[in-house]
């Protein structure tokens, strides 16, 4: 029998499966208190998904709150929408605004790599679309277990094919990302997806249901049984070897439908037919109806039996929880409904009026005329539980930090040093990633100015003025393990620097905070420290956090992943034709290293690859220095002919990455970098960029660097077909290239 509000009142003591739905006893009690009765099964379904970790941020929100305390403005203007919206929106000038956000789809991608990754792209793209923006690019930071682990061979090809399969079919260029390998991600791969969208200021749309009598339209794909409880079941629980099979919880994507949904929605926006809009992602209709209603000024009434179904046997609870993809919900004035429907018909997108905005202040949902939900919408969407999870610095942290990599054995002579360079170049984290990136369309829409393997991705957003935006995502989880506060700051600094190296001005941050179980106080400490570090650094760099996502429970058994606060920075560039390339193209130019090299090897790629070691303290960070460097790079646009960030693998890797794209070598001396050539090559000191400049302009560059207080060392000259490290050894580019390119194809076929 249908469990209606009336039945719930008459039969108050019925046993309910709240525990199976992931609710705790006190949470269930609170729902009863809010409603003054037991919830109906439909209400229970809604509360359980909306109060899940993934949707309610119940463990993380006390820490996330501080991002909202940052000044809500970027270096060039006000934020037009911030945390709490589907995605943050910032002003980039010329009447344009940009929205961007990075999100996780980690757990589904482990269970079903292709669909998990594909729907991760689909979800973030709809978030961007819902702001009124045309999605223009995607990026995907990925983390996997060791390259030689059998399970990596199961998940990696599927995840990469899923990212490509969905993004390529949507016609969105994939302009960058990361692929990082570490043992802790075995069994917990991280699939983060970022989308950038562009809009004019006046096109901004917000998720709210206002105006009594306005119609609520559900459009896009039909609702099916896929993904029921995806977020509550998958993203809020630790994987357990003995657990039940969770395959049915993963959503299945249809990128073709999403492409139609994008074009249809943009045409609806252009016609001015939308009063409020929300995408359906995690928690499906439960989320869309409760969030729209609570952001509005009244209530909402929905007739759930009007929802078009793929499976006619679905019960109301299942319809409310389904995470079927490619669906949107719009609030439309009654007079505009016909025009709205006509545009949907043009794009072959099914659309149905499922309800209307009311003045009751309640979210009321009926099933064939009987009321199955009657709740205050805010209690579902926003008044979920908040946990003050205990956190404590783990007792192993001191020992970890004391075990510095600086004391590990080093290459004994030039020949061992040479061998080490080649070994690192071929290592999974530093090798050529084109096996992955070649599966992504980076050219579609014809506005990609920079993409992999450049330090940042860059997109032209106006073909007449050449206005563009640049995005980078970064995180070194090893640094974050050694010191989560510093690790989050280092991730931000690297991303910020990568945007600056291309010639853009860094403006704003989105983050995807991937951590282990919040029920473990050491993990909670890592999380709290990372949030604090990120906030402090954002304040100092003057960039706001515009939104983001938290993914917890990334652990199998007792082993949590490396704390992985992925930080995305978006920048603006007034004229993309003046961007600074990240590789060398001409011979005879002077190679200059900006920034200071110190003996910093703890957490480095060298320690990881050669010694399998993780200990010590991460490289020291000067945010003041990063700001000065970014300002210098901005002023040097047009003066320098290339700029390449130094990060994982240090100077050795930067020299190689700068030389390989056009096979232009260089002859350089390390004397001006550090007295110890090994330190010069492999230290991962931050705040460094390798630039080239025409010989005649060296003086101007060094003057500029001096003015910004940035050390500048002349290393040598570009040219030739090898990287010649004077007095040490020579690396023929053909040899380096084949070593660099061989790793992924050899492992993955």
């Amino acid at each position: 029998m249908l469990d209606t509000v009336a039945v719930a009142a008459e039969d108050p003591s019925r046993e309910q499966p709240w525990a199976d739905l992931g609710l705790k006893a006190d949470e269930y009690a609170r729902i009863r208190e809010i409603l003054g009765r037991r919830p109906t099964s439909s209400e229970l379904a809604m509360y359980s998904v909306m109060w899940s970790e993934h949707c309610s941020y119940k463990s993380s929100k006390v820490h996330l709150k501080q991002f909202g305390e940052l000044p809500q403005e970027t270096p060039v203007g006000k934020m037009l929408a911030g945390i709490g919206e589907n995605a943050g929106v910032i002003d980039v000038g010329q009447g344009y605004a940009v929205t961007f956000k990075v999100e996780s789809h980690n757990h589904p991608s482990y269970v079903e790599p292709y669909q998990g990754a594909a729907t991760g792209i689909g979800g973030i793209v709809r978030d961007i679309l819902a702001m009124g923006a045309r999605p223009v690019a995607v990026m995907d930071p990925l983390r996997f277990g060791p390259l030689d682990a059998p399970d990596t061979h199961r998940v990696l090809p599927g995840i990469v094919a899923g990212v490509g399969g969905y993004g390529n079919c949507l016609g969105l260029p994939n302009i960058g990302g990361e692929a990082v390998f570490d043992e802790t991600y075995l069994g917990n791969p991280l699939v983060n997806a970022l989308c950038v969208g562009v809009l004019k200021h006046e096109d901004l749309h917000l998720a709210k249901a206002s105006g009594v009598g306005n119609q609520v339209i559900l459009y896009g794909a039909r609702t099916g049984g896929d993904g029921i409880g995806g977020v509550s079941v998958l993203a809020s629980e630790t994987f357990d070897a003995d657990g039940p099979a969770k395959r049915p919880s993963v959503q299945v994507g249809d990128p073709f439908m999403e492409k139609l949904l994008i074009e249809c929605t943009l045409e609806i926006f252009a016609a001015g037919l939308v009063a409020g809009i929300q995408d359906l992602g995690g928690a499906g209709l439960s989320c869309a109806t409760s969030e729209l209603a609570s952001a509005g000024d009244g209530g909402m009434h929905v007739e759930l039996d009007r929802v078009p179904l793929r499976d006619s046997t679905l019960a109301p609870e299942e319809i409310l929880m389904s995470e079927s993809q490619e669906r949107m919900m719009a609030v439309v004035e009654p007079d505009d409904v016909a025009a709205f429907m006509a545009i949907c018909a043009k794009w072959d997108v099914e659309a149905v009026v499922v309800g209307e905005v009311t003045d009751t202040g309640r979210l009321e949902i009926d099933w064939h005329g009987e009321r199955v939900v009657d709740v205050p919408p805010r209690s579902v969407a926003h008044d979920g539980p908040t946990y003050q999870r205990p956190f404590a610095r783990p007792d192993w942290q001191d020992a970890l930090q004391a075990d510095a990599a600086e004391s590990l054995p080093r290459p004994a002579d030039a020949s061992e040093l040479r061998e080490t360079v080649l070994r690192l170049v071929a290592s999974p984290n530093l090798c050529d990633k084109s096996w992955i990136t070649d599966q992504y369309d980076r050219y579609v829409r014809g506005n990609t100015v920079l993409s992999q393997p450049a330090d940042s991705g860059m997109i032209r957003i106006d073909e007449d003025t050449n206005l563009g935006v640049s995005v980078s995502t970064d995180c070194n989880g090893r640094y974050a393990k050694l010191d989560p506060y510093a690790g989050a700051q280092l991730a931000l600094a690297e991303s910020y620097r990568n945007v600056a190296t291309g010639g853009a001005t860094p403006l704003a941050v989105s983050d995807c905070l991937n951590f282990g179980s919040p029920e473990d106080p050491s993990v909670m400490w890592q999380f709290a420290e990372a949030c604090r570090g990120l906030k402090d650094a954002c304040l100092e760099l003057g960039v706001p956090v515009t939104g983001g996502n938290v993914s917890l429970y990334n652990q199998t058994g007792e082993t949590a992943i490396l704390p992985t606060p992925v930080v995305a920075v978006l920048g603006v560039i007034e004229d993309v034709t003046r961007r600074t390339p990240s590789s060398w193209s001409a011979a005879g130019e002077t190679v200059v290293l900006l920034g200071e090299t110190r003996e910093e090897l703890s957490g480095s790629e060298w320690a990881h690859v050669v010694h399998g070691h993780l200990g010590g303290r991460p490289p020291a960070l000067s945010l003041e220095g990063e700001k000065a460097l970014a300002a210098l790079l901005h002023e040097a646009v047009g003066l320098i002919s290339s700029a390449h960030d130094l990060s994982d693998g240090g100077l050795a890797q930067a020299l190689i990455e700068a030389s390989l794209p056009s096979m232009t070598g260089a002859s350089v001396s390390l004397a001006g970098v550090h007295e110890d050539p090994f330190v010069a090559l492999f230290s991962e000191s931050t705040g460094r960029v390798l630039v080239t400049v025409p010989e005649s302009e060296v003086g101007r560059l060094t003057d500029l660097a001096a003015r910004h207080g940035v050390p500048a060392a002349q290393l040598g000259t570009t040219g030739g077909d090898s990287v010649d490290l004077q007095g040490l050894f020579d690396l023929p580019l053909l040899e380096v290239r084949s070593t660099w390119m061989a790793t992924l194809p050899a492992a993955l076929g």
Partner: protein, 222 residues
């Protein structure tokens, strides 16, 4: 000259093709799959993408769209038609071009800057090139392996209907490294690589693709 660019549900490179037409000095006219109307254009480009999600078989549904009825009829009368990637697949499904395109032999989508040799400079779309000219175009496809039976392949070679061939490596397992073919008359050309992505130094793989969008004028005045 007015060059129509068709948008099917799932077309992706229609904006790029229209931009390339403009950079080639011509006027791009948007054509809609659901209309029996070519709007008086002088030539048509079927752009890349995943029309109808590539469901059933790439191009298999699009060929039945109303606009294709008009395109097929006009092509048979000699109107220049260029099919790029998914457009090539639609032309094969429409039997305006021989052969078919199947999943890449390595089973992965591939996106790369691809070197090619223009084999035939006498088609409506390649007259701006010279036979034997080597160019680099963006290539991106999941189902780009060109196949036809041996007698057909021999005939295509013999009649000069192989328009372009892959150099350095065959990216998708195409028979005889074939990257593009034409019909006998030379007005209909199908090409797997994407010349519309190679029209600006700033954004693509150079400007080697521009010739596909300037050839029509050159042939018109030839």
């Amino acid at each position: 000259m007015k060059i129509g660019v068709v948008t099917f549900p799932g077309s992706l490179d229609d904006v790029d093709a229209a931009r390339a037409v403009g950079l080639g000095g011509q006027e791009a006219v948007a054509l809609w799959h659901g209309d029996h109307d070519l709007k008086g254009v002088d030539a048509v480009v079927l752009p890349g993408g995943f029309s109808y999600g590539d469901y059933l078989r790439c191009g298999a549904i699009s060929r039945f769209s109303p606009v294709m009825t008009e395109v097929i009829e006009a092509a048979r009368k000699g109107m220049p038609v260029l099919g790029i990637c998914n457009g090539f697949q639609i032309l094969c499904e429409s039997h305006l071009l021989p052969g078919a395109l199947i999943r890449n032999d390595h089973r992965r989508f591939i996106c790369r800057d691809q070197r090619l040799r223009i084999e035939n400079d006498r088609t409506a779309w390649t007259s701006a090139y010279t036979a034997g000219q080597e160019i680099t175009l963006v290539l991106k496809n999941g189902e780009g392996g060109y196949v036809a039976d041996e007698p057909t392949l021999d005939r295509l070679e013999g009649e000069g209907q192989v328009v372009a061939r892959y150099l350095d490596l065959n990216p998708n397992g195409s028979a005889r490294d074939i990257a593009g073919v034409s019909n006998e008359r030379g007005n209909v050309v199908g090409l797997m690589p994407h010349p519309e992505h190679s029209v600006e130094e700033l954004t693509g793989s150079g400007t080697d693709g521009l010739g596909f969008f300037t050839s029509l004028v050159e042939s018109a005045f030839a």
